[in-house]
Symmetry: C2
């Protein structure tokens, strides 16, 4: 009875494949254009993300203009140079060898913005935790990312950007927040594992160490 | 060539079905227990969400204990009473008639927490936008929600909670942030549309009004 709302096995597999085979793509973008109908499907998937009080705060700036992408790329280069200086020795070498953005290689960029001053939803559900407006927009990003993977399209999230410079470049008003800057395009391949795992930057945590029972830090019947 | 990484039609349909048929469930939970293997699949899906610098900050407190759920339910009742007082007239009546949480009805609650002080990832990607740690945890929530829908399991996100009281109840340290409080369980039905749309609280925005071209507010070739 209670299992009656499960999808077919193939459909369930599609969802888990999208989750496990999604990658943060930086280096394998192809120049092939992204058809408008495909991009619209991805944006509609994002638009159907959950939002607190059904406020639907997410806005999608689709950027193909090369001058704007070049300005964002320069923003990234400055921020990345500053970030690289935090590391020393082999970590610094490792950092400099990482490819961390595909702003110019990807045919389309999408900046996903949270317009939290919308009147939609009449404030329902966000009195106690106002950040839920931003969280709604992140859900939109993840929807887009998973739908893109199913369509064979790579997405990379660039977070190494000065947000004030990005605001100026894209004309984002003070009432809104740029939550994610995404690069989208077809790819030569999807890596089998996350780049940062393959290149030895970090390892995957075990599932056991991230699950607690009833209280934070409590593993199984024991307290951490 | 470039379409070579697309999933099969059935798998693609599974992803879009999960996105479009996902609901924020509050009133249709069944008492049937959630098998441990199913819950573990959902948590592993969440654990495979993207995270900035592969920091993997998300922690999952699985709550079945009735005393703890009851304390959270009382937290919700107090916050909801306060929230209801913001509305007047027909909006107030409408608000009071909405069912906004299923904390006690759902057999399992999961509090998804961001442990942003982890050393994992060595800070990569979050110098300029530190909120990306929280955003990573939200991606984990959306992964869990979509995998749950595919498995026929309902999820409701309760955001009407006093975060300090929740922190005390669940023993969450100051270094961590409770991002989402989720109720999970099998359901009698999934609604065709979001509750807040069906009950007239808010309408779905059109896709056209949330997409801009190259700059914020720019629709097509015109500036808003």
């Amino acid at each position: 009875m209670s299992r009656g709302h499960r999808f077919s096995d193939d459909e369930v597999r599609g969802v888990y494949r999208a989750i496990y085979e999604r990658r943060d793509v930086r280096s394998s973008f192809l120049a092939d254009p992204l058809p408008d109908d495909v991009l619209e499907r991805l944006l509609d998937a994002a638009h159907h993300a959950p939002s607190v009080g059904f406020m639907q705060p997410s806005r999608f700036i689709v950027i193909k203009d090369l001058a704007i992408r070049t300005a964002v790329h320069h923003n990234f280069e400055r921020a990345n140079l500053a970030a690289a200086q935090r590391y020393e020795g082999s970590r610094a070498t490792q950092y400099r060898n990482l490819k961390l953005a595909g702003i110019l290689e990807a045919p389309v960029n999408v900046c996903v913005v949270c317009e939290s001053e919308t009147s939609r939803g009449a404030g329902l559900g966000r009195q106690t935790i106002p950040e839920t407006a931003l969280y709604s927009t992140v859900c939109a990003v993840e929807n887009l990312w998973l739908a893109a993977r199913a369509e064979g399209i790579g997405v990379g999230w660039v977070s190494i950007l000065d947000p004030q410079a990005l605001r100026a470049t894209l004309g984002i008003p003070e009432s809104a927040t740029a939550v994610a800057y995404l690069c989208l395009g077809y790819v030569s391949s999807f890596a089998s594992d996350p780049d940062l795992e393959r290149y030895g930057w970090e390892e995957r945590a075990s599932l056991e160490e991230v699950i607690f029972t009833d209280r934070f830090g409590q593993i199984g019947s024991k307290r951490r």
